[in-house]
Amino acid sequence: MIKTIKSYCSIKNNKVIINGRVDPPISIDGPLDSYLNEIYRSKQLNYPKYFKMDNLCKLAFLTGELLKMEDNLFGINQTEIGIVISNSTGSLDTDLKFNSSIEDRQNYFPSPAIFVYTLPNIMIGELCIRHKLMGENAFFISKEFNPKIICDYINILFDCERLQGCITGWVDVNENNHNCILFLVKKEELNTGQIIFNENTILKLNNGEF
């Protein structure tokens, strides 16, 4: 058995790319939120919890939906699918929002609905709830996308039989910039036309060089 990338989807620089195919452009002159909501509408999704999420989770959620449309995750036991994600800014986009709500003692309104999103791994929670996944979780931070951190771990988790499938990648929101790519990794018999899961292919797919 080998580890392959069954599908990969990205939303970055105002472009939606699904397994290398670029979606028709969505032109929205507005904040990231409006752009993401437009993707939600264009894909005809129906998941009311989406509207409670912060932008970071919305971005991860939408990319997760794209992956699911390409390759149904089911067929693998839900306890054997993990999620290992990384980014650079953690949850700072929402941290700043929460911080604004407590800066002024005369205008102090901290909200638990915002505070809960001041942790980057909440996006893993949202994906797990959406797709009913209960396997291994990990969230890493690095200045730039560093496939070695996630690949080392995922390889080990597959090899020690903790995982049969894994969603992995990079999900980052910084001010109005967004950068998200998720990969679905599965174990398969060796065949032709497969994309082998390793640091190099992850890096190439992320750079659009495949």
């Binding site: 839900q78 306890t79 999620i83 650079s88 800014t89 953690g90 700072l92 941290d95 700043l96 929460f98 911080n99 604004s100 407590i102 800066e103 003692r105 102090y108 901290p110 909200s111 638990p112 505070f115 809960v116 001041t118 942790l119 980057p120 791994n121 909440i122 893993i124 929670g125 949202e126 797990c128 709830i129 797709h131 009913k132 996944l133 209960m134 396997g135 291994e136 979780n137 990990a138 969230f139 890493f140 931070i141 690095s142 200045k143 560093n146 951190i149 080392d152 771990y153 080990i156 988790l157 090899d159 020690c160 903790r162």
Partner: protein, 384 residues
């Protein structure tokens, strides 16, 4: 696959700046939780386990004259430095790596800047660079930020890397501070207890926050261990409840699965029973109940269990590391530590909380944790 050995450790908290000071205070039943009256943190007083800043500065002055470190960076550097001194490991060796566990890092640097990032150090990777540069580490530290399981997860990740020879030594360090940001957040959740927290007690009403840093050095080279009391990693797992982002599963489903995986892995290391459990025990109504459910379902009701949160409060990204270290020293000294703040069982499963510290031979232990995002983790260690 390599064995993974515990080499050295350190805890920085209000109970001391090294592990032995801290452990002595646990044995003496001294808690670090006090009434904190600090307008910069919260308008009204609250109970928390906070470290005196002058003490941090004075200890830091003994190891470095460099001034440009934040409070948290100083705490983490002090912790790593002290742990390294007890080992033969150099952080600047190519086969050693630092793993950092933190939930919010230097989040206090946002204060006063409203909607702007004026200081790069609020990025966790920048905090990590500070630590890397201080210790001249050739490898980029790995940062894990996975809510309240960060510390346990960092230890599992470290152990997996060592089992598979990715590195020879891993220096796992965790730290978080009490900030206005975190206090306001937990207050908004009504999660902070009026008095000092009372994990698993019938009168518990929420958590007490804490701050601290801890470092555990692990290696796959047995020669680096002291010959007596060799302790080894024997299993670990993380899971997700897939239930709710801000609450644990009422049946403790995810935690139960993590415990079962960990116990199964431990069996491969010929560890067939657990002598002691260090629970997450935050003292919120829901956490403690679902933890009790998970332990009961895993057949661990009779195993002595405690929560260290009554001593240190909830130290967030440091908790899993500090509390694992305390559990490891309980094993070394064969002492079960009192579950501080506990009096009368307040969960629906009859788990065996430790009342009053006492001697008992401990050959294996289990450390568990759960956090926001529905995440859970378990790790087991055994004496060789």
């Amino acid at each position: 696959m390599n064995s993974v050995y515990v080499i050295a450790d350190n805890i920085v908290s209000p109970l001391g700046f090294n592990t032995s000071e801290n452990f002595e205070n646990l044995v003496l039943n001294n808690s670090g939780i006090k009434l904190v009256e600090d307008q910069n943190l919260f308008p009204t007083p609250f109970y928390a386990s906070s470290i005196n800043t002058d003490e941090i500065d004075s200890h830091f002055g003994e190891i470095s004259s460099a001034g440009n470190y934040t409070r948290l960076e100083k705490m983490m550097i002090l912790s790593i430095d002290n742990a390294l001194q007890q080992s033969k490991i150099n952080a600047h060796e190519k086969d050693s790596i630092i793993i950092i566990s933190t939930t919010k890092g230097n989040i206090d640097l946002l204060k006063g800047y409203d909607n702007n990032i004026k200081n790069e150090r609020v990025y966790l990777w920048k905090l990590s660079e500070q630590i890397k540069n201080h210790f001249n580490s050739p490898n980029e530290p790995i940062i894990i930020s996975n809510a309240c399981i960060s510390g346990v997860l960092a230890l599992i990740y470290a152990s997996r890397l060592l089992q598979n020879s990715v590195y020879k030594n891993v220096i796992v360090t965790g730290g978080d501070i009490i900030s206005e940001f975190v206090v306001s957040g937990f207050k908004s959740f009504h999660a902070i207890s009026e008095g000092p927290c009372k994990p698993f007690d019938v009168a518990r009403s929420g958590l007490s926050l804490g701050e601290g840093s801890g470092t555990l050095i692990l290696s796959n080279d047995k020669k680096l261990t002291s010959n007596k009391d060799v302790i080894s990693f024997c299993g670990g797992a993380s899971t997700n409840d897939a239930n709710h982002i801000s609450g644990t599963s009422p049946s403790g489903e995810g935690l139960f699965l993590a415990i079962i995986s960990t116990l199964n892995e431990a069996k491969n290391h010929s560890v067939n029973s657990i002598d002691y459990i260090s629970a997450h025990g935050t003292a919120t109504l829901y956490n403690d109940e679902s933890e009790a459910q998970a332990l009961s379902r895993a057949g661990l009701e009779t195993v002595p269990v405690n929560s260290f949160k009554g001593f240190w409060g909830h130290t967030l990204g440091a908790a899993g590391i500090i509390e694992s270290i305390a559990a490891l020293h309980s094993m070394k000294k064969n002492i079960l530590i009192n579950s501080f703040g506990f009096d009368k069982l307040g969960v629906t499963k009859n788990i065996n909380l430790i009342k009053g510290s006492r001697r008992k031979e401990i050959n294996s232990c289990l450390k568990i944790a759960s956090g926001f995002g529905g995440c859970n983790a378990a790790i087991a260690f055994n004496k060789l």
